[in-house]
Structures are given as C-alpha cells and as structure tokens.
C-alpha cells in the first residue's frame, strides 16, 4: 500500500511496562475514510497501542507515520496537533464543569477571559454538522452516559481531528444508543474522517468494521484483514488461538426455597436522585438470577442495599431475616457474600498481604478468629490452600495484594467469598477486564456454587455471561425491573428492548 494513502501507519511498535511486554513488534495501518476495528481480549495491548498513537505513551522502538509524515509524539498535544483525537473508554470529563468548558479545556483560546456565550454558539454549530446534540451549558454530572460520550466525541471534532480513536465506546451504551453511535460513525466517515474502533465484542466488529486487526498477548494475529465474509467464530479464533466455547454446560437443578426476598425496595444514589424504584425480586437456593442492563441503571445501588452499604426503603430479607438498612456486618453474618464491582477500590487492601485479604470476611470466626486474637499461622495455611486450589499466581501469601494481576485478584476475591459456603452471593461484573481463560475459570466456580445450593444474584453488563450462567433473567432499566424471564424462553431482542426501558409484554 502506498503510505501516502494511509491515514496512519504504525510499524514494529514495541511498548513495555515493568514486567510486561504490552506491544511486541506490532504493525497497524489505517486507511482514509475507513472504520478499522482493533480487536483483542482484555490485556492484549489494544489500548496501549492506541495510547501511543494518541501521544500518551512513547514506544521503545518502532515508527509512526500520520498522513505520510513520520511523527514523534511527546505528549497528547502533539498528537492532537496532527489531527488525532481519542475518545476514551473511561470518559475524561470534569464532572463539575459544563460541556463547553470541557471542550475548551487545554486549548490556547480564549486568550484569558472565558467568553462562554460565544463558545456555546460555536459548539452548537459543530453539533449540527455531525448530529451530536448536547446542551452546552449543562454540567457533565447532569448528563446521561450517552450524552457524555457525545461530549467526548465533540472534544475531538472541535480540535479538527480527522483520525478518531474510539476505545470500547459501546461498553456503557444501551442497544439503541449503540445503533445511534454506529450511525454517527458512518456519517463521520462519509465526511472524510477515519476511525479506529477498539473493542472486544465480536458482534460489533462484524456489524461495522471495514477491516480488522487482532491482537493477542501483545502480538498481531491478524493484520488489517478485510471483513468480507469473516464470521464471529473466525475472529474468536484469532483472538484466543483456540476454539472458544461460547456457552458453558449448565446442568439442570432443582431449585430450593427462597433465600433472598426484596419487596418494594427504593433507594437514592450518591447524588440524591432515585436509583432504585420499588424493586421486588426473589432468588432461590440453587439458582442464578441474572440482572441484565446497561451500566448505571441502578445495579451498583442494588448490590449496595443488599450488602448493607446503602440505606433503602422497603424490605430485604435473607431466609426471612431482615438485612435492609443494617450495617454490612449483619449481611455478612447472614451468609451474604459480595463480589464487588470494583475489585481494587472496594474488594481488596492493596498494601496488605494475600493472607490479610483472604481473611477479611472470615476473621471473626473460629478457627482463624480466636477471641481477641487472630491465628495468623492458620490464616497463612488456609490462604496457601486457597492459592493452590484456585490457581492464584503470586510469589507468596505475604505478597501485597496490589501486585496481583486483575485475573488473579478476582480469583482471590472469589476464593474468599466462596470459601465461606455462602447462602447467598451478589456477584457484580465478576469477569470484567479478565481474559478468556480467567473468565472460564470464574464461570465454572460460580456454577459450582450454584450446584452446592447457593443462591446467586449475578449482575452483569455482558449479555453472553447472563445467558450462559443464569437460570432466570431480569432486566433493570432506570432503577426498575422491566421483566423477569426463564432463560430458556429468553429472546435476546426482547431483552435488548427491556434494557432500553420497555416493559415486558407477555402474559
């Protein structure tokens, strides 16, 4: 290919971090006006590669050409100057400032005094051009997730970006918003923009990409291949290198009595707005109830009211014992286990050892807890046993938990929570950010618990996961349960519609 036709050409890129070779002699090209998908599991190196293109990292070796010209970015400013704009997965927006203020951040204009009115108008004009509507005076925290993403996109367009990098843009969108985004992307390419689309979702690659590059463990396994005639199965193989099993065997099981009962539970979120609206649910022993939904619709609050981290109105009982509005210790004593959404911020103490982290829930009980003392010898032994059993990679049980990789950390948390043979488990995004191997391990562990009679509430944004593991599926949207179906009868279109807020219409 003639380099001058290419919007971007990255050759032989090597990027490394302490202990990890993130990009191993990677080649990547982007043609003008195309949508090029960059596919790979979590940790494959996709974001790293694109961060280098956006000027955030410097490759150890390799070259980058933008529109034919060799470039050497030292900071994001340099990349922006060359027309590269990045729309991040985790939005880089200042919540307390307005849309316009966020778009103007980092620019050399206005010279000194902000003239918001003038710039509000300019932003509106830009919105018209691309069909991305958002109120310029609104503060970011007031906007929905989809609207915030539009602000991220506007940021890049305002700076004249013609090469856009979108990092997992659909992770936080409802199916309808995803459609809108796809339309926006097509409209942008028609106007001459070139788009790189980072994702791990095979379905989206098939839907929208012109070409695809697949990364596996830092190396390229498929380079800029056309999407003509390529199926999800082909992509999966490139991603993982072996046949990927999309569903896991879930044996039939007799369900037992009701363990969790929620009646008319309502709760506010951290901003004082309603997050849960009269939610009623039941989970029985030996079943997994999957809660599907786009992030930000009340899932966090749902987990928190059950585990005692948030107050609510209404009643929550575990085997008829009330646990709502009581401190977390009450739920713990009632046999509730919690796999938190954020494993680093909530689930672990990074500077304490593996042992310290393992006994976090069980240190009050015999034999590890012994009156005023803790028997650390026993605790170490116990942790070692778990480490072997769950295959957690770490130098020793004394290693600080913060040094563990995401997958191993999650296994540690799971080991801790499962080991107490819980009656009830809240598993929130249990496999987020993990590679396929780890995901399979964790799914197996969850199903094993189900087999042993635990009642499990699985809250996840990955429909694959919901469908594979759940016996029944409920959909949450804007704090309300839209409907509950048996998973055999579940129809993905129906679920998708419920996720966007339409009630289940069935008798």
């Amino acid at each position: 290919m003639n380099p001058n036709d290419l919007a971007v050409e990255m050759k032989d890129i090597v990027i490394e971090f302490p202990g990890v070779l993130a990009n191993d002699h990677v080649n990547f090209t982007l043609k003008k006006g195309e949508i090029h998908a960059l596919l790979g599991e979590n940790g494959a190196g996709k974001s790293t590669l694109m961060n280098a293109l956006a000027g955030l990292y410097k490759p150890v070796s390799g070259t980058i050409r933008v529109k034919g010209e060799f470039v050497n970015f030292n900071s994001p400013r340099d990349a922006i100057a060359k027309g590269i704009g990045m729309v991040h997965q985790h939005f880089m927006l200042v919540p307390t400032q307005t849309v316009t203020e966020n778009i103007l951040l980092g620019l050399r204009e206005p010279r000194f005094v902000m003239q918001l009115k003038k710039y509000n108008q300019e932003i509106l004009a830009l919105q018209d051009k691309f069909g991305l509507f958002v109120q310029p005076e609104a503060k970011i925290w007031q906007l929905s997730v989809g609207e915030q993403q539009r602000v991220e996109i506007l940021k890049t367009l305002y700076r004249g970006a013609d090469i856009l990098i979108m990092d997992e843009p659909t992770a936080v969108l409802s199916p309808r918003e995803i459609e809108e985004l796809m339309d926006t992307m097509r409209s942008m390419t028609r106007q001459g923009k070139s788009i790189i689309f980072i994702t791990h979702k095979l379905g989206e690659v098939v839907d929208i990409a012109d070409r695809v590059t697949v990364l596996r463990k830092g190396k390229v396994t498929a380079e800029g291949e056309s999407m003509q005639g390529v199926t999800k199965k082909d992509l999966a193989q490139r991603m993982v290198g072996r046949e990927v099993v999309f569903t896991i065997e879930r044996t039939e099981r007799e369900v037992g009595e009701i363990v969790l009962e929620m009646k008319n539970v309502s709760a506010l979120n951290n901003r004082g707005l309603p997050a849960l609206k009269k939610v009623s649910l039941q989970v029985r022993s030996g079943e997994i109830l999957g809660i599907a939904g786009v992030g930000g619709n009340g899932q966090s609050e749902l987990a928190e009211v059950i585990t005692g981290l948030r107050d609510c109105t209404g009643k929550i009982t575990i085997q008829n014992e009330a646990i709502s509005n009581k401190p977390p210790i009450k739920a713990i004593k009632q046999g509730v286990s919690h796999i938190p959404e954020d494993r680093t911020a909530v689930g672990t103490a990074p500077n304490l050892s593996l042992t310290d982290n393992t006994i976090m829930k069980g240190y009050r009980e015999n034999p590890i807890g012994d009156g005023w003392r803790i028997n650390f010898q026993l605790a170490d032994q116990h942790t070692n046993t778990l480490k072997e059993k769950y295959n957690i990679m770490a130098p020793s049980v004394r290693t600080p938990a913060g040094k563990l990789s995401g997958g191993n950390l999650q296994k540690l948390i799971l080991a801790r929570e499962i080991n107490s043979e819980p009656r009830f488990m809240v598993a929130m995004q249990p496999t987020r950010g993990l590679d396929v191997g780890a995901i399979e391990d964790i799914w197996a562990l969850l199903l094993e618990q189900r087999q042993k009679g635990s009642a499990i509430l699985l809250i996840s944004e990955e429909l694959d996961e919901i469908f594979s593991l759940s016996d029944r599926i409920a959909v949450i949207s804007e704090g309300e349960i839209m409907g509950v179906v048996e998973s055999e009868d579940a129809d993905i279109d129906e679920i998708g519609m419920m996720m966007t807020g339409m009630q289940l219409e069935r008798e």
């Binding site: 672990t348 976090m360 004394r398």
Partner: protein
C-alpha cells in the same frame, strides 16, 4: 551504546533491609545538613556531635538523663504510631500530654483523695486520671472526625493551644504557689519511684533520676506490639488504614474505631504527661515539654510505626534533646527533626520505585 538511568516501578517485594536503610540514611543526611546549617550560623557542629555522643554513650548519669527524656517519647511515639497505623493524623499528642499532666495533678491539688492515702493509691489514681484526661483530649477530635468528618489534623492542633492555656490558668491562678507561676511541689507520696530512691542500698544509683515511667513505656510497647501483630483489633486498624472502603465492605465499624483509636492514643500521651509530672517535675508548671508531642510524631515515622523500634529511636532523639541543652540556638533540634522527616518521606519513594542502569540499544526482555 550508552548507559542510562531508568526509574521503574517495583513489581517484586521490597528487600527487607531497605526500610531500615532509609530510616538510618535519613538521620545521617539530616545530621550532615543540620551540621552545615549550624556551621553557617556560627555554631560548632563537631562539638555538638560530641555532646550528643556523650548524652547517649557517656556516663551512666548522663545516660539516665537521656532515658528520662526518652520515657515520654516512647509513650508518645507509640501513641502516634497507633493512630498513624489507621491513617489518623494525631498531631495533638502534645496537648494530650498536657491534659494528662493536668488530670494527674488534680489528684494531688484538688485533692481527689485523702492526703494520707498510701503511695500505691495515689500513684494509681494519678495514672488513671492522666490516662482519662489524655483520652478525653483524644476522644474529642476522634468524635468530630467520626461524626462530622472534621479534619483531625487541625482539631488536634487547636486543642493543643486550648489545653495549654487551660493549664496555665490553673497554674497561674487557682493552684499557684504563693503567686509564682507554678504549683507547690507535690508530696513525696505522689512521686514515681526513681532509681535514686534506692541510693542507700545501691550507691551507684545515687543521683540517677530514671523513674518508673520508663516501665510504662516498655509495657505499652509490648501491648501495642501485640495488638498490631496478633489481635483482631490490630488487623482491623491495619485494614482501615490501608483501604477504608474495603474495611467497610468487610463489615468493620469505622466510626467506632476512629473514636477508640484516638481515645487510646490520647490516653497513652496522657500517661506520658502523668509520668513526667509524677516522675520528673513533681509539680504542675507551664513548661513541661520541649515539644515531646511533635518529636513523638517523627519518632513514630522513623520507627516505621513499629513499637519496638520506637524504643531505640526515642533514645536517639532524647540524646538530641539532652545534647541540645548545651546548644544554641534552640531551634536546631526542630530543624533536625524537620530534615529527618522530610528525608524520610522523600526516601519512601525508593520503596516504590527502583533505579536501574540500562544500556540503551540493548534488547530488553
């Protein structure tokens, strides 16, 4: 090919000798820098250093003086370590010390018990009252932090100023001894036993002012060490200090622990105040502390919050104070402490990152 310095994050465990090295290194650098500044202002650093050496390793009498100064440092150092373990910044040890001194003095000066009570009762009451008042002075900022999320650094500091003025009122006014700015000397019954008391039996002890307070310090070190290492409470404190969100999720009551730890910390500092009043000064007066409450903070950090390490570090700083008596200007010890603490936190970065020499042009694995 050229050699470059590369700084990268540590992935493996920190080598065991490194924390000790950073502590020792900080002190050495501080001495050097302090010496230089001292020289600039016209002092004689080498002479000062020899005073210091004498204070710690010289005659028994001087060493005993040093140990007497180390006693409150040990207790306050442990008090601070307890709070800091939970990332509660108790800067009010100085005030809690004064509060404890007040409480202990109350026993004698009010008086709270009959004047002819046996020594055991008197000392016992003073101990209790000292810890009680220190505990209250720790409880207040703890409560404010737990209930209203008020920053404990500022509240503990403000309370320092408040209690000093409170004490002064009683010293200058109600309890003043014939109008002097101090109270009357306590009866012997209210004095902590000293080695000098046994001079008749053991002549070597003549003039040795080392008092029972040092035993308080050692006992406190053992107790708090045990708490940190083996107890449930110590584990909870560690967890809250490292990640309060995780602690909450684990069912730990953070508010209650904030109050408990601050009160306990205050009680230990108050005990130091009682020991100083009863063992050394034998009266309540305006100046009973050359900044023990602040030096204790540095001691705790230098000892990396380890109760046993606090003991030798306290001796070191006590030596500085004793040597400093001969020195002008008075601010030098403050300066040294500042440099030590600054060096200490600067060197903490070495625990998180390591420096490697790399040949560029080489293939890195």
């Amino acid at each position: 090919m050229s050699i470059k310095l590369r700084i990268e994050q540590r992935v493996e465990d920190v080598p065991k000798w490194l924390p000790i090295a950073t502590s020792v290194g900080s002190v050495v650098v501080a001495f050097i820098l302090g010496g230089i500044i001292f020289k600039i202002v016209g002092g004689k650093p080498l002479q000062a250093l020899s005073f210091f050496y004498q204070a710690v390793f010289g005659s028994w009498a001087v060493f005993s003086d040093t140990m007497v100064k180390a006693t409150p440092l040990i207790l306050i150092g442990i008090a601070c370590a307890l709070a800091f373990k939970m990332r509660l910044w108790n800067i009010g040890a100085e005030g809690q010390f004064y509060a404890g001194a007040f409480g202990a003095s109350m026993v004698v000066l009010v008086p709270l018990i009959p004047e002819d009570s046996p020594k055991v009762i008197v000392i016992g009451m003073m101990l209790l009252m000292g810890m009680l008042f220190g505990g209250i002075w720790g409880f207040i900022p703890g409560y404010l932090r737990a209930k209203y999320k008020v920053n404990e650094i500022i509240t503990t500091l403000m309370l320092n100023y408040i209690i000093i003025n409170w004490n002064n009122f009683w010293i200058f006014d109600q309890w003043s001894d014939r109008g002097f700015q101090m109270t009357a000397t306590f009866d012997r019954v209210a004095w902590l036993p000293r080695l000098a008391d046994y001079a008749k039996e053991i002549p070597a002890f003549s003039g040795v002012t080392l008092h029972l307070g040092v035993v308080f310090g050692l006992v406190a070190a053992v107790i708090v060490w045990w708490i940190f290492r083996f107890s449930r409470w110590g584990y909870e404190i560690k967890l809250i200090g490292d990640n309060p969100t995780a602690a909450r999720y684990a069912g730990i009551n953070i508010s209650r622990n904030i109050i408990l730890v601050m009160a306990f910390s205050g009680a230990l500092a108050g005990l130091a105040g009682m020991a100083e009043i009863s063992g050394v000064v034998h009266r309540l007066q305006e100046s009973i502390s050359p900044g023990y409450g602040f030096t204790g903070i540095i001691v705790a950090w230098l000892a990396k919050l380890n109760p046993f390490a606090i003991i030798p570090v306290s001796v070191l700083f006590a030596g500085l104070i004793v040597a400093g008596r001969e020195l002008q200007p008075a601010g030098l010890s403050f300066l040294l402490q500042g440099i030590i603490l600054f060096m200490l936190i600067s060197s903490d970065v070495l625990l998180r990152y390591k420096i490697r020499l790399v040949r560029t042009g080489e293939e890195s694995a």
